[in-house]
Symmetry: C3
Subunit: 139 residues, 3 copies
Amino acid sequence: MRFKKLNEAYIVRLDRGEKILEAIKDFCNKNQIKCGYFFGIGSLDEAELAHYIVNNKKYTSELLKQPLEITNLTGNITTMDNEVYLHCHITLSDVNMEAIAGHLKEGVVGATCEIILTELNGTINRKYEQKIGLNLLDL
Amino acid sequence: MRFKKLNEAYIVRLDRGEKILEAIKDFCNKNQIKCGYFFGIGSLDEAELAHYIVNNKKYTSELLKQPLEITNLTGNITTMDNEVYLHCHITLSDVNMEAIAGHLKEGVVGATCEIILTELNGTINRKYEQKIGLNLLDL
Amino acid sequence: MRFKKLNEAYIVRLDRGEKILEAIKDFCNKNQIKCGYFFGIGSLDEAELAHYIVNNKKYTSELLKQPLEITNLTGNITTMDNEVYLHCHITLSDVNMEAIAGHLKEGVVGATCEIILTELNGTINRKYEQKIGLNLLDL
């Protein structure tokens, strides 16, 4: 994990073997970032994706172990119980350029991962909502 | 629809059953936002996608009724005939993590939808261009 | 290529037949933009995508000649050897709304392409890293 701050944006590079969400959460904690959003491109060696069905409140998940391009990583940074909370979705492509996508549970960086992270001043908390079964933005 | 403004960004939460484009357009009207862009993640219960072929100026469209993760929503806000005009594309994934994508005609929110919307000062209009058959940015 | 600057964002319109990366690079050179990032939606008539396997340091690539929606274009602007360097990934969809994605080598605009490009003050260089086989961000 390396970074540079330009204007209000952090340009972050993650390296081979790093776990994306773990690394971003760690980065937020070290830099006292409590709210913001990020975008990225790069590649993964491994990804765990999830898909949620609100009707039965159940996640299905899939673990992929293969070289995958990250064609888009989109996430937001909020807090829950005073801890940094990341919510992140990802679009990947396999060797045949077929796209695979979902809620990102975790991903292990392949060649590199380049992220633009923007900090917002203020805080937004999450709160569990029984009816939906998820931790929603408490706005 | 709930929101909070931090810096120049609006953090917007859409809830189950809300129509994404209708809700964002309504939000822009109420907050006098005439130009900007937005990104989002979340899920849909229903989506109508379109694909345009410029050679014959024809749209094909597809209505999906199933639980879909929004892995990326990318859109811009401009004006046409003094009305807010949204142009938005979307990447979705189904229960098998297969990605489905296209021009978003409308989508009905599933569990939740989290959007970061940035306002730009100024206006950009659209104008119908006969040769292309679409309302293009009038820059 | 037409554009308008609002706040720190350039709103860029590319027209039918223009090459996306060539046009953005040209735009950066003319406007002395050395660092930043961009997002876009639109459509392509032709795309050349690549997929990199870090273990053997080999790219596979695929040339698509068909009408494709750009559901998300995500890229960053840095420099290498004092030249503007673009790194850009793309998510596309075909007439059946199936998503195709990868590292963008080049794309030829279909109906239109609408890009929001944000300039960052400062510079970030790239450096070839032997172990990975790619030009990584030199942070």
